[in-house]
């Protein structure tokens, strides 16, 4: 068994070097496809991350209260609204606190607010939702409640973003499946060429009593090695590109919806696993497919 494994590994390396062109073509195509896949992965993870951030930020409904409402009225309204589903918490924000937050948000331009003679902001209730689905109902109910002046809830915007990100994810998923199938086909046909050029050799092996595994083992390992090498190459290229991109965009332009790019370290570690697993399985499946018909002698 052990000797068999050593034989397989030695023979696999020998074959990769012997079929330089085919090995090269396979490695090229698998790593190219892994790189494309990496770009999609990068896209989905970031879109996903962005979506989560957006959800986190927009799961709040702000209910502005009429000036005549007292704190007690506010608490009454809060109690009514909190019986609705998906309301996680309701916080009372009085106008002074609201002004304070305003100043904070404006930062060094807060002095502009000093020109205001008195605080124009209303008291409000800040409703945290546990999910986005029931948000519109809560907003609807709040709007018709006596004592409520206005309700701010970015439902449409949120839904738009969500449906875009869902679409991106669907497309990515289909692309990834497609790429995997394509690369399995490429690998299996390159290995098949290699196998065909060795058909005589394989037949002779069978005549002298080689088991299928004696023939198959080296080819399987050959495919897996090719996959692993490709994964390494793709990972190197993608990591480099991603680090450059996140260096470039990291703090600046891509602060879309206050969401930064996902950290390079995290991405690269995950990509490493994904690439290795995918590369090796593509290599293995490719060689298994290409070997099947040659082992019947």
């Amino acid at each position: 068994m052990f000797r068999g494994l050593i034989h397989s590994i030695k023979e696999a390396f020998f074959q990769i070097f012997r079929n330089k062109v085919m090995s090269f073509v396979s490695i090229l195509s698998i790593s190219a496809m892994l790189m494309i896949l990496g770009v999609f992965f990068f896209l989905t993870v970031n879109v996903n991350n962005m979506t989560e951030n957006i959800k986190g930020e927009f799961d709040t409904i702000e209910v502005f209260l009429e000036d005549y409402t007292t704190k007690a009225d506010a608490q009454e309204i809060a109690r009514t609204l909190s019986t609705l589903g998906e309301v996680e918490s309701i916080e009372y924000v009085d106008r002074d606190q609201a002004m304070e937050e305003f100043r904070e948000r404006w930062g060094d331009k807060a002095y502009l607010l000093d020109t205001l003679s008195d605080n124009p902001l209303p008291n409000s209730l800040r409703i945290k939702l546990s999910g986005l689905e029931g948000g519109s109902l809560v907003a609807e109910v709040a709007k018709t409640t006596i004592g409520v002046e206005d309700v701010r809830y970015y439902q449409n915007e949120v839904n738009k973003v969500l449906s875009i990100s869902e679409a991106i994810q669907k497309v990515t998923f289909v692309m990834i499946l497609f790429l995997i199938v394509v690369s399995i086909v490429v690998v299996s046909s390159t290995i098949k060429l290699a196998v065909m050029s060795r058909e005589a050799e394989i037949n002779i092996m069978k005549y002298v009593g080689a088991t299928n595994w004696f023939v198959r083992g080296p080819m399987l390992i050959e495919g897996m090695l090719i996959g692993a090498i490709s994964a390494g190459i793709a990972l190197g290229a993608i990591s480099y590109a991603y680090m450059r991109v996140s260096e470039f965009f990291g703090d600046e332009a891509l602060k879309l919806f206050s969401s930064n790019l996902v950290e390079a370290d995290f991405m690269i570690t995950n990509l490493a696993w994904i690439f290795m697993a995918l590369g090796i399985s593509i290599g293995a499946v490719g060689s298994i497919i290409s070997m099947r018909r040659f082992l019947k002698v």
């Binding site: 002779i204 005549y207 080689a210």
Partner: protein, 227 residues
């Protein structure tokens, strides 16, 4: 060693072997003769389990191989050596490697291989060619390499499909001497041939096949056909 019981093998519409029953004893030396298309190669392929019969039963070395699972074919093949008209050597490997290869397949240790291969090469009279590639050898020498490979694992049975078909008469006779030598060491030999002079000169058992039937089986036979 080999026993056919009422064996029939068809290819689509041709019946290549038609209800053949025959016994070949351990240590026998048997010629299989007959006109082209008679079914000789089919007979050989049934023994090596390259083909399975449509009906009847086949035993090799006491084992019923009629319904042998594919997984167990390697085990069967290791009990036999095979030699072909076209030698079937690996062009990229040296003579030594071609023979050693058959031992690697059965997982012999490196030490055993190193000890055994030179011995076999020298018995075959090609010890000095060990490091050459097959294509640089003469036809006769190539066939010696093929025989060396076939017998290096000490098989109980050697089957040869026209092993002298590509050789001139003198070289063919040299090969025949090697095969008899192997047979004298106890290996059963089954050989397909069209060479009347060899069959007549050896005076061994001859099984004549025609149209898928055994038409003659004589212990100290002669070729019996005018080719």
């Amino acid at each position: 060693m080999i026993r056919f019981e009422n064996v029939t093998k068809r290819y689509d519409d041709i019946t290549a072997i038609d209800g053949v029953s025959v016994d070949i004893a351990d240590g026998d030396f048997v010629f299989l003769v007959g006109p082209s298309g008679a079914g000789k190669s089919t007979f050989i392929k049934l023994i090596s389990k390259e083909l399975s019969p449509d009906s009847g039963r086949i035993f090799v070395g006491g084992q019923d191989i009629t319904r042998l699972s594919r997984r167990r074919i390697p085990e069967l093949r290791r009990q036999m050596g095979m030699v072909f008209q076209d030698f079937r050597l690996l062009p990229g490997k040296t003579v030594y490697q071609n023979v050693a290869f058959a031992m690697e397949v059965v997982h012999s240790t490196r030490r055993t291989i190193k000890r055994t291969v030179p011995q076999v090469l020298s018995i075959m009279g090609i010890a000095d060619k060990a490091d050459q590639l097959p294509q640089t050898l003469s036809q006769g020498e190539q066939q010696r390499v093929a025989i060396a490979r076939a017998v290096v694992n000490n098989p109980k049975l050697l089957i040869a499909d026209e092993p002298t078909g590509n050789l001139d008469p003198d070289t063919a006779w040299e090969i025949m001497k090697l095969l008899s030598q192997i047979n004298r060491r106890g290996t059963t030999v089954v050989m397909v041939t069209h060479a009347k002079d060899i069959v007549d000169r050896m005076g061994r058992r001859v099984i004549a096949i025609d149209g898928g039937h055994i038409v003659r089986d004589s212990q100290e036979g002669e070729y019996g056909y005018d080719v």
